[in-house]
């Protein structure tokens, strides 16, 4: 099986769970990445202080995004960059295609760019007969398999080396053994020629530095350096929120990103590219274009629940930490981004309220994503906000709606509640075995399919309260003022987004 099938998360997850290769591969690699991060952050020390600093820098930049983006644009132009704006995905593809057509390009060589996946750039080039080749090893593998990436950092995380050997053998026209070194060696030789003949190099962008108009790219293979060194024209796709104010701030991002992604102190290459080659330089692009992409990002600005989503630095740590992602893999999620960040980002960017029902529920709200996030994005809270909005906009399933209305009725009146508990205590007698209800009859099935319901006790808590309350009164201690104040502040701040200078 190559890719989980189904029209929603539940169906795709079910199909993924039957694929043992996929489950083993994803579990194995996420575990390794997670342990790598743990070791690297422990070794570096003071991780919480670094996280907080990273969060503050991102909050600050997004709160003043109009200023920093304008500064970035002015500085990039001063270095000779042609800057373009893509309010929507299709605009980014249109601009890139227009440049490629004007250049008479026959081939484009790409380094890793999640934004390019968002705007389906390969399809746009191919429609014109322009070859568009992924050069990151993982991206190259999934391009050959004709699949989208299933992890932000390790795009082919769902494939094992036997499957990869099969794909590359087809490309090689001979049988390659399933050995990592040989497979990578084949990709190196094959792609080296592509780099040398490509008319256009297309890159993504990890950070844009406002004070100098520089594009910063983190990578390990050297393919992004190839893409930005050899072809005559460079096109960089940049999400409009990728900015940081200064090179000083890059030290913080360079501390957080590689450690969170793979546990490295720094990726093998971190390149700052500032404009096309200088007049006397012998290599680097002669012409450089940066396409700044919105594609739903600006909708999060000014939204207290979701603005912090733009702080994301795309490290993938939340995927590796997520018990749901680790079981169902990236292809069970709709859209380009998977895992906890994808579950929030995809509906947010696509404005697709109906899809919220589906993805926002693919989470246990355990908060492991928040713990893992190097810039402390409260993803688990955002999933709850998504569920709230889903209910407000009436996209709840009819059974759930009825159940909630019944619940409201019961909880609104102590008489109704008391009688319902009594009825339950009598009615359950038919279903209870050893203190648990296991039956999957009717509406119970949704719950009991995966767990048992404890039986209602003979005397309910409410019935015991008269006796219990006097006991509690005796033992209770008043809450310290300081604690009370702090809790009140917490309640007040809830749902108002991050604070920043």
């Amino acid at each position: 099986m190559s890719k989980p099938q189904g029209s929603n998360v539940k169906e795709r997850a079910k199909s993924a769970l039957k694929d043992e290769f996929l489950i083993d591969a994803v579990k194995f690699t996420t575990e390794r990445l997670k342990n790598g991060k743990k070791a690297a952050t422990a070794e570096h020390g003071n991780w919480e202080e670094w996280r907080e600093r990273g969060r503050q820098i991102r909050l600050h930049t997004i709160a003043h995004l109009d200023y920093y983006l304008s500064q970035f644009i002015a500085n990039a132009r001063a270095q000779g960059v042609h800057v373009h704006f893509a309010p929507e995905a299709k605009d980014a593809a249109r601009i890139a295609v227009e440049i490629a057509k004007h250049r008479g390009a026959k081939s484009v060589v790409k380094s890793k760019s999640m934004v390019s996946e968002e705007v389906h750039i390969n399809e746009a080039f191919e429609k014109l007969g322009i070859e568009s080749i992924e050069s990151d090893l993982g991206e190259y593998i999934i391009q050959l398999a004709n699949e989208p990436p299933s992890h932000i950092i390790i795009p082919a995380i769902h494939k094992n080396r036997y499957q990869i050997a099969e794909l590359l053998s087809k490309e090689a026209g001979e049988t390659l053994p399933p050995e990592t070194k040989i497979l990578a060696g084949f990709a190196r030789r094959k792609l080296r020629d592509k780099f040398l003949e490509a008319d256009i190099g297309l890159t993504g962008c990890n950070f844009g530095i406002a004070e100098t108009g520089s594009v910063v790219i983190f990578e390990n293979e050297g393919n992004a350096r190839m893409v930005s060194t050899v072809p005559k024209t460079q096109i960089t796709l940049m999400g409009m929120e990728r900015l940081i104010p200064s090179w000083d701030d890059l030290e913080v991002m360079a501390t957080l990103l590689p450690r969170s992604a793979t546990g490295q102190k720094l990726t093998v290459y971190m390149s700052g590219i500032t404009g096309p080659r200088r007049e006397n330089d012998g290599d680097g692009p002669e012409e450089m274009h940066i396409i700044i992409v919105d594609n739903g990002r600006s909708l999060q600005l000014g939204d207290p629940d979701f603005q912090e989503l733009l702080n994301c630095i795309r490290c993938g740590a939340c995927l590796n930490a997520c018990p749901v992602y680790r079981h169902i893999g990236g292809h069970s999620y709709p859209g380009t981004y998977s895992g906890p960040i994808g579950a929030v980002l995809t509906p947010a960017l696509n404005k697709n309220t109906q899809e919220w029902q589906d993805i926002a529920n693919a989470s246990s709200l355990c908060g492991a994503c928040y713990e893992a996030c190097p810039v402390k994005i409260p993803l688990h809270d955002m999933l709850v906000y998504l569920r709230n909005r889903k209910v407000e906009r009436g996209y709840t399933a009819s059974g759930e709606k009825m159940a909630m209305q019944g619940f409201k009725l019961l909880m609104g009146s102590h008489k109704w509640f008391r009688q319902a508990v009594k009825a339950g205590q009598i009615g359950q007698k038919l279903l209870v075995r050893d203190g648990y209800i296991r039956s999957q009859i009717g509406p119970l099935g949704g719950w009991t399919a995966y767990r048992h319901i404890p039986a209602l006790p003979k005397r309910s808590f409410r019935e015991q309260w008269a006796g219990l309350s006097s006991e509690v009164e005796k033992s209770i201690r008043p809450m310290p003022d300081e604690m009370k104040k702090r809790m009140e502040q917490t309640v007040q701040a809830r749902g108002k987004g991050g604070h920043h200078a």
């Binding site: 704006f85 050297g222 500032t274 012998g282």
Partner: protein, 241 residues
């Protein structure tokens, strides 16, 4: 055709100016402002305060750099002065059976005298006047020899900044990278190099600034580490001083 038609670029530029107003205007208005934010105070700039005073002693710095570079899969050598470097380079090239080298066009590297010492090998220096030829030479060379602009001990990184004499291809295309690093230009933290980079005036700012922390690698197949995917697979750091 190396650059686009000026009329085409002028058209793009006009479209860009118009689109920018709407694009930035939309961001400002979403943030509740009618005009672009003025220069904001940035109280959280750069690394946390406790970090900015962290500094290793010279010998510790060198030791830390070497252990990081080795942990990343690279090789290190230490020399007291530049006069020892030619022997070391010749030995490395011999061991790896290299047939050709390309180096940055710098006097320090010319003074290594590789042409005289290893006349049976082909040696080239980066020549920006023959850009196409230099690219081909670098692509076919077995080893690229560079002088690092800076190094960072804590992350085990060396930094090369591009210029007419320092082609980016030299540290990228050959399978062997030999980087000569002066211990005087090695700092403890990334931030010390960042501030030096940011201080370069705009009209002298290099197009490519590359932080390199070992040989090229990939973990894209089963997270199994492979060395030397697109960039150099053998990376030597020779520390002088």
């Amino acid at each position: 055709m190396s650059k686009s038609d000026p009329a085409f670029l002028a058209k793009l530029s006009k479209e860009s100016q118009e689109a920018e107003k709407l694009f930035i205007g939309n961001i400002a208005s979403r943030l509740g402002r009618s005009a672009i934010s003025p220069l904001p105070a940035h109280p959280f700039r750069g690394a946390p305060e406790f970090w900015t005073s962290y500094e290793l002693e010279r010998e510790e710095r060198i030791a830390r750099f070497m252990s990081n570079w080795q942990a990343a899969g690279g090789f290190t050598e230490r020399a007291d002065s530049m006069s020892e470097i030619p022997d070391i380079v010749a030995r490395i090239l011999g061991e790896l059976n290299a047939k050709s080298t390309i180096r940055q066009n710098l006097p320090e590297l010319k003074q290594l005298g590789l042409e005289e010492r290893l006349p049976e090998l082909r040696h080239d220096a980066w020549d920006s006047l023959d850009a196409e030829g230099s690219l081909r030479t670098a692509e076919q060379a077995d080893a690229g020899i560079v002088l690092a602009d800076y190094a960072v001990a804590y992350t085990g990184s060396m930094i090369v900044m591009s210029s007419a004499d320092k082609g980016r291809s030299v540290s990228l295309l050959p399978n062997i990278l030999i980087a000569i690093i002066s211990a005087d230009r090695m700092y403890t933290r990334l931030g010390e190099v960042m501030s030096r980079v940011a201080a370069v005036p705009g009209d002298q700012f290099p197009a490519g600034i590359h932080f390199i922390s070992g040989p090229s690698r990939s973990s894209d197949i089963e997270n199994d580490l492979t060395i030397g995917v697109h960039g150099p697979g053998v990376a030597y750091a020779l520390i002088v001083g």
